[in-house]
Amino acid sequence: MNSAAADPAIIEMREASISTLRDASLTVVNNVNWSVAPGEFWVIAGQQQSGKSDFLMTAAGLLLPASGSCRVFGRETDSFAEAELAERLRIGYVFAGGKLFSQLTVAENVALPLRYQQNLSTAEASAAVAELLEVMELTPFADTTPSNLAANWRQRAALARALILQPEWLLLDSPLGGLGARHRQWLLLFLDQLQRGHEWFGGRPLTVAVTTDDLRPWRHAGRKFAVLDEKKFSVLGLWNEVESASHRAVKELLAEPAGATL
């Protein structure tokens, strides 16, 4: 981690205010100060409507902060124009629910960013796509369109689409939402492998950030946690600090959902 600390921060937010995608004049989080070093795994927790998705999109450089500064890879995101496309491709983003292209099959969805960015034909991209689909156990669904795919596999296909360009900074919006127990387990393990350096990435570790409305599945000694509540962003630290936090929102996010034990 010492060498990682010497690297510039992946993202650095200073006094940043986060607005929503739907209405740029509406601020959902104020005065965010946040810095992510290469190789870290961040879990951003918050209740529904706390601004998690907008926060994550701002962290990906997809939304501009309403005020303050947001630097991704050392560059202000408002300069992330067409000319800096190469910088943008270092970021992988997985939307809640996947948001796959409904007209394309799973293989076409995964191939599209690679084909578009590297001007490859379907045949030229097929080897890399097939390899990634195999790694993610999606090969049987390669020719299936998203509408004929269960939500579990749609989420996994969306992750494959974000990974095909081999990003360095991977952001996932509520990745466990709607997943069955087996798929949750697989995803948690896979994200862990990505952070440590998956062989598909040649062992290169990824920096990961996820959002969640339930902290419990993310319990892990190596992960860092933060919470969004009442328009405030608070860094909690490691898991032991999460457990000892007196923050009301954290206690709610750690609590068993009502009726879960019935």
Partner: protein, 286 residues
């Protein structure tokens, strides 16, 4: 997305105007309609300019992806509509041209046949009818497809992957529709003129095929060909821009899509008539 697309196209003023309660006074209603029309015009103008800019700047970008998409759109707005246009050409020939030829022959005015056909079919009916049919068949599909993609967040997903939505979604539709309307108009004109003569022949109109087509070719000038190409391309461009603008450029919910499709078709018809009027002036001037 990226702050830029949203800021350029969201035009929240339009949403505010549309969703506000109806004003009670007629003058206020008129004022609101006027402002809405101006805002829509501003949005359409900006969208058209951006589309032209993207076509010019990204002509060579991702050709492996874009060429098949453009071919698909040409097929959708052109080739796949050929059977329908064959039927429409026959109908147009039988219903309009055949009767016109027959009527002109009865009053001994067959000398005017060529110029009448060129004005009615080549300059006006052919291009306008083609544009209307393509608007109904493909333009509506454009709004629904793009509106659904926007409502489901697929446009944001494109941006997140570093893919320009205007380049990926709009450019193929604009090129496909422009080329489609141009080609279909040519087929419609040829088909209608031929079937029109067939109808006149069946009515024993004393006119040989040679005379009929000679009159038409003599009435045509190079300007007709040039303006026909320009006009049909303009129809295709504007129909694509209007339908894509309504589908893509405003934040939509799924329940908005059908309403927006109706609005886009209405504006598409209006724009076609406007373009047609501009070309009538051009014909008169030249």
């Amino acid at each position: 997305m990226r702050g830029n697309l949203a800021k350029t196209f969201q035009l929240t003023n339009i949403q505010v105007f549309r969703r506000a309660a109806m004003p009670k006074s007629y003058t206020d209603q008129l004022g609101r309609k006027l402002f809405l029309a101006l805002l829509t015009l501003q949005g359409l103008g900006a969208f058209a300019l951006i589309t032209i800019g993207v076509i010019l700047n990204k002509f060579n970008v991702a050709q492996s992806v874009m060429r098949p998409r453009i071919r698909h759109e040409i097929n959708r707005a052109g080739v796949s509509l050929l059977p329908m246009f064959f039927f429409v050409a026959l109908a147009l020939g039988f219903l309009v041209i055949g009767q016109t030829v027959s009527a002109l022959a009865k009053v001994g005015a067959t000398d005017y046949l060529g110029s009448t056909m060129v004005i009615v079919i080549v300059r006006e009916l052919g291009p306008l009818l083609t544009a209307m049919l393509v608007l109904a068949r493909v333009g509506t599909a454009n709004v629904i497809e793009l509106g659904t993609a926007r409502a489901l967040g697929e446009v944001e997903a494109l941006e997140a992957l570093g893919i320009d939505p205007v380049h990926y979604l709009i450019v193929p539709r604009v090129i496909g529709m422009a080329l489609g309307i141009f080609s279909l108009t040519i087929y419609l004109i040829i088909g209608a003129l031929a079937s029109g003569y067939l109808f006149a022949f069946l009515q024993d109109v004393p006119l040989t095929p040679g005379d009929y087509f000679k009159q038409i070719t003599e009435a045509l000038s190079w300007l007709d060909f040039a303006l026909l190409a320009l006009k049909t391309t303009a129809f295709g461009f504007f129909i694509a821009v209007v339908t894509c603008y309504h589908g893509l450029a405003q934040p939509l919910r799924l329940e908005d899509v059908s309403r927006v499709a109706v609005r886009a078709v209405t504006q598409g018809v209006f724009v076609c008539v406007l373009v047609d009027a501009v070309f009538i002036v051009l014909y008169l001037v030249t």
